[in-house]
Assembly symmetry: C2
Homo-oligomer: 222 residues x 2
DNA sequence: ATGAAAGCGCTAACAG
DNA sequence: CTGTTAGCGCTTTCAT
């Protein structure tokens, strides 16, 4: 915490006001005269005042910070999601504490513990898929906000996820609409993939029946 | 800051000790009797006590947190560096606040400001290369620890970087030692690439002269 | 419109 | 070995 140069008190002394007046003024309260607000803002600038969010957190009991845990960082879709998350949160004044569990469950637990002691307001996590979710459920029971970045069935934990079925369906439709008809799908034996496969087959099936109907419409058989 | 359930004071009441005794005990001070330490540890566990790092930071004046700013997150070498950084820092008890500047200088400035108000102990940054470095220099002048993740000449700011020359040299040597002799290099017109090119040519040159010498040694000419 | 005082949860002197 | 008192920087009643 590279020594804070100026505190509320310093600018209070410099301007002759009380610390609370300064606090209010800096936050733009109209309870303070415009003249005072201006004078105070000027002094703050001169002293290069940087508000101490730590102190503010202690009293407000919210850190305005969320924890983000990714179990791997090599996945570009995850990192780009992380970027979006950070940017969005930043625009609302939230900071993000970040950690990788590096495929290690113990590391995930330590990261969570560390985030909690840093009083994060909530946790965003892409957990190790094979790990038990008990630790997350426990957090939920303690009424601690947790949302997973991947949907896991019946976990009882909030999650945002990818609609694998719709994604595959739309992608397949797109190809079909571009005029392609021989469309294959490369799959791996995973749950998410199965969902994608269903989307793919559904799109193919609907295309076939559409083609069937149009054939009879366009070139009526004798 | 999802309401903290138990505070030092709570476990103090439950055990009958004073808060400072509890504080010391929890930190394993030998100034506290083993019996007391054990009793206190047990109570802390029962109350699911989570230390409030925020309060600790306020008094210790160090957040044990560093800020990490990357101007892009799509670059896998950057993200894997970020992972290493986070893991290393975590093992020393440090947290990392993360932000992307998203190629936007203003965003970089805002991120820095936010980190400062969150009292980060230092800043790790991969800045926008074309941006002026004045803001970082100013931080240095205020004696705020900053290190860049890319070396920029004469910036006066600490930096860790890649030894492009040595890397290319070693890679080329490696191929040579594996017996290859026709080694090409694909380059783009950038400063870093030029350094790599020099490493490559140096390795090639030394291999040629070595081959020259060995030819005369192994098959002396008549 | 502004000031005084209390307190957030914790650590750090001093006492005993 | 353990308790008491301050105080970190800020916000928040409650006065004035």
């Amino acid at each position: 915490m590279a020594k804070q140069k100026a505190r509320l008190k310093d600018i209070a002394q410099k301007t002759g006001y009380g610390t609370n007046t300064v606090s209010l003024a800096l936050r733009g309260s109209t309870r303070i005269s415009a003249a005072a607000r201006e004078k105070i803002a000027k002094a703050a600038l001169e002293l290069e005042y940087v508000p101490n969010h730590i102190a503010k957190s202690l009293v407000s009991r919210r850190s305005n910070t969320v924890g983000l845990i990714l179990h791997e960082i090599t996945n570009p879709i995850l990192t780009s999601a992380a970027e979006k998350i950070q940017l969005t949160l930043a625009s609302s004044g939230y900071g993000v504490l970040f950690a990788t569990s590096n495929g290690n469950f113990e590391a995930e637990l330590r990261a969570i513990e560390m985030f909690r002691s840093r009083m994060v307001d909530g946790l965003l996590i892409y957990p190790l898929l094979h790990a038990k979710l008990d630790h997350l459920k426990r957090l939920r029971q303690q009424n601690f906000p947790v949302v997973m970045l991947v949907g896991i069935e019946d976990s009882g934990i909030d999650a945002v996820g990818i609609d694998e079925y719709a994604g595959a369906y739309d992608a397949t439709r797109h190809l079909i609409e571009e005029g392609h008809s021989r469309i294959g799908a490369l799959m791996t034996p995973q749950y998410q993939t199965a969902l994608k496969y269903n989307g793919y087959t559904a799109a193919m099936a609907s295309a076939r029946s559409a083609a069937y109907r149009s054939r009879y419409a366009a070139t009526p058989s004798v």
